[in-house]
Symmetry: C5
């Protein structure tokens, strides 16, 4: 569960809402036709830009980014070191009982191949393909979110142009001008807010999450392959630690 | 037939049209001189930027992107595996009857060369050139659409400047100012709408379509070359599956 | 003669002029001081950015892009095949009479070196340097046009700022405000129009023209070197065809 | 202590404050709700974009950039040459007493490994990892600051849109319009000022500081490894001078 | 002395000044507080972004770009050919008398090393480092000028925001509004003018000057090294001519 994302979105909307409520007249900020132009237009452009499966896949990727948990690196190393010890003492088959203790599907798949007696190179090939697959899905997700972050303000501006043209058509009294322009500006407001508070930062978070998850997966691959080659627990630990920066190794050691 | 593109364009125009009709005064949004400045100016700039054949080719590429169908990967693999079996059992000449069952011209060309007894390397060379050719045409098409997406708002702004200057020349009554500015803003509206709902997303779709079509073509090349080398159906399947991400292989298997 | 460029510029100005004339008051759009600020300022910035010879060379490059003719690829191949046949039958010296039939200076230079009995490698070295030279000149030309396309709107905005400040200094009557703003906006109009209808598209065309001319020159080098190595007409044709995409070879064959 | 940064920030705020005070009505420029929208919104977007540890780490990086001192290159070389002499005369153990004279933790770590008798290659591996680690932290810091520099004006614009919509809702008297717009523009002002005077230049300074610190660290690695290989003082000096540009070597020599 | 730069800056200011004087009320365009905000703010941001020595070095680089003279390539080649002849006839020591005829410090340094009897490789190493050094200084200078060209309009906008907020605070009469807005727009005008007429084009010129100077220096290195290897004058000429494009060699020959 990525707390920073949830806190950021929550606080961000709090700040904006408070500013709107304090300024008075919050009712004017809720205008469904303006939402329809900005978000609807943006979604249509996204649908034209990407293929249907890519478009539908983005929501599950966002959900997973926010909800799923990247396994702690210290925990990963400790588990793998334990498995290396079990493997050396009791053989690979003894690892089968450990699989139930793991929740990460990728880790389970690796251990299963280990138990099945597959060779180190075969395990690495299959698991690396899986990592590539994930990276490509994440990279497409990032591109979709970035496109949404560019299209939302564009359709906000289009909505404002429609509103302005309609308002200018009949300039009767200053009051009607003001109300008309206020409504016209709403779509620009929706577009700028959704892009800058949601789409652009989420695209960035997806990149950072993707990098962290890929590192964890690469550590699992390295560990499982080392066990498959029958290396001792110390060698397994060292191979996996190569993924952690020098500075953080102390922390990791302290946590073990 | 790419449904996402058609649905996106249709829904997008629906959303914008509804917003215009609800707001009242939809007649003002139809103004042919403004269309002429925005779209005409944009087309002229595109004509100056690109060569005449490139300019004329873009329409057929867009049409093909929307209409043509990328062959299903599962189907492609299954067909190729069948042909490998026929080739091993009855020889390459027996494949000639299968050509009638295929609609993809590129696939037909590959099979024909197989039937003609050409060697694997010769087939790969000729078909790879064809793929390069397609990629270059698609890449030029993408550049043209991206240029159109940049030129349309620019000429929209030029049209608005013309309208503003004409309106400012004679400021008599607030009503005439309003009507003048409304008309002046129309070109900016046309430019922003056509760029963000049509040209920019279509350029993106062309890129995604190009990638998918090239992958399918590369799978055909791989399959035909494997058959030409006399490999067995299982080897052919495995070579073609290398193009599909691990996660999707299960689906593909399920579909066969 | 590149018709697309001429037609594009002509039609573009037609569209803009028609819009101005229909709207009324075309006299206001002709204002020499505004032209001086926009185009003069842009030229001064270009003079500061580039060296004097680069600045002066741009006009001849543009002229050449519009006027000169890229030799037809089919014609080039056919000529070279004929020369290969003459070379094999009568020796290189017999090619001397053919030089008079060619108008392309680069082709003449290649043939002359052939007649002079220079070796294939020497010809390739000298002619490749010539191609590099042309590419660098074109690339500088493209950079200058792109800079002009960025500087023209910037000086248009500077001119509008000057006009606005002068107008705001004395706000007496709405009429004078309108006229003042109309004049102030003229420089932005000139800057946007010249950039989007002339400089930016011309920079693009220069890139496309450069690519086409370089391909033709590379085909000549390939052909002349093949003849210098005494290859037969069929081999010469095949070497030159490698520059043409598979799809266009049929056309080329049909034209021969 | 980087004086340029402190002087720049101080003078920059002085200039802006003076302009505000001279113009009169400085009280209007202090408006906490506007600060909350601009800076609060920007911080929330940054929190969504980056992970919590990255977000929290940025402040310590900025502080370190301003406060910490990059060791003088001349001093570094002189110290290392002395240590090389001590090492050749009295052995590595004699260097232990020198460690107390150094304040740079990285330098201490290198010398300690030297005293511990580790081999040149092991020292280089461990210290290079440390440098990579620092570079990655600095690069993340630069990205965060650049994102802040992009998000602050965006939330400034969002705040201005909120203010404009609220103001346009009720247009009663010119005075209230003016005051409303003045407040609405404040968020844009805060966003532009914080981005252009703080975030964007600080991101640049972080890049320049990072480059200088990495060079100093690489010089230390080179020097310590040379000593570990038992090279003589002159060879150590020459190896470290390779990091200094020819022109600055004279200065360095003069300073020694 | 780069005439294009001086003429461009002079003409550019002439054009702008004429436009201002003709339009009337030139006094309003001179407003020291606005200059202070725009140029002062920009300089402060530059001070924060770069280190103090980099910031101070930019002025000498600009001065050198405008004043110093890149040696003519034809002259360089001719001199080097003469020195090669002297070297072959009378030995390297005879070159010592020629050093007094040269004004370029880099050329003198090269000849001195030749006279001192240093080997070709040593000369190349030392002189190449010098070239790298110059390139890095020029590249930093270009980055500073480009940053100034981006920061000046940004602080211009900040100044305009300050002016607008102050003006909107008290809307009494249309005249005061006009005068207030005119002053507010001045900072944007200063920022746009200084960026587009000075900083951005100067950054471009620095790049072009840097390339030309580096080419001249590389020609000197090539020539001096060839002489050091005892090559004959013709070989020296050919090695140096490799830096000149084919087309310009005729000119160079004609000038010799």
């Amino acid at each position: 569960m990525d707390i920073a994302t949830i806190v950021g979105v929550f606080l961000g909307f709090m700040v904006i809402t408070t500013a709107i409520v304090i300024g008075g007249g919050w009712q004017i900020f809720i205008h469904l036709p303006s939402v329809a132009i900005t978000i609807g237009g943006m979604l249509c452009a996204t649908l034209i830009h990407f293929s249907l499966p890519q478009f539908l896949g983005i929501f599950s990727i966002i959900k997973k980014t926010i909800i799923s948990k990247i396994p702690s690196q210290a925990e990963l190393i400790q588990k793998m070191v334990n498995y290396a010890a079990i493997n050396r003492r009791d053989g690979a088959l003894a690892l089968e009982q450990q699989i139930n203790n793991i929740s990460d599907l990728f880790f389970i798949k690796g251990l299963q191949m280990l138990v099945d007696g597959q060779e180190s190179e075969a395990i690495r090939d299959i698991m690396s393909l899986e990592i590539q697959n994930l990276q490509e899905r994440h990279s497409t997700g990032k591109k979709i979110l970035e496109f949404m972050g560019a299209a939302a303000p564009a359709f906000g501006m289009i909505g404002t142009l429609i509103g302005l043209i309609q308002m200018l058509r009949s300039l009767e009294s200053p009051e009607s001008i003001g109300a008309g322009m206020a409504v016209a500006l709403l779509t620009t407001f929706y577009g700028a807010l959704s892009a800058n508070l949601i789409f652009i930062p989420l695209a960035g978070k997806l990149g950072i999450y993707s990098k962290a998850e890929v590192t964890a997966m690469e550590m699992i691959v390295e560990g499982v392959c080392a066990i498959a080659q029958g290396e001792n627990p110390t060698a397994v630990r060292e191979k996996m630690q190569a993924f952690i920066s020098q500075g953080r190794r102390e922390e990791v050691k302290a946590n073990i």
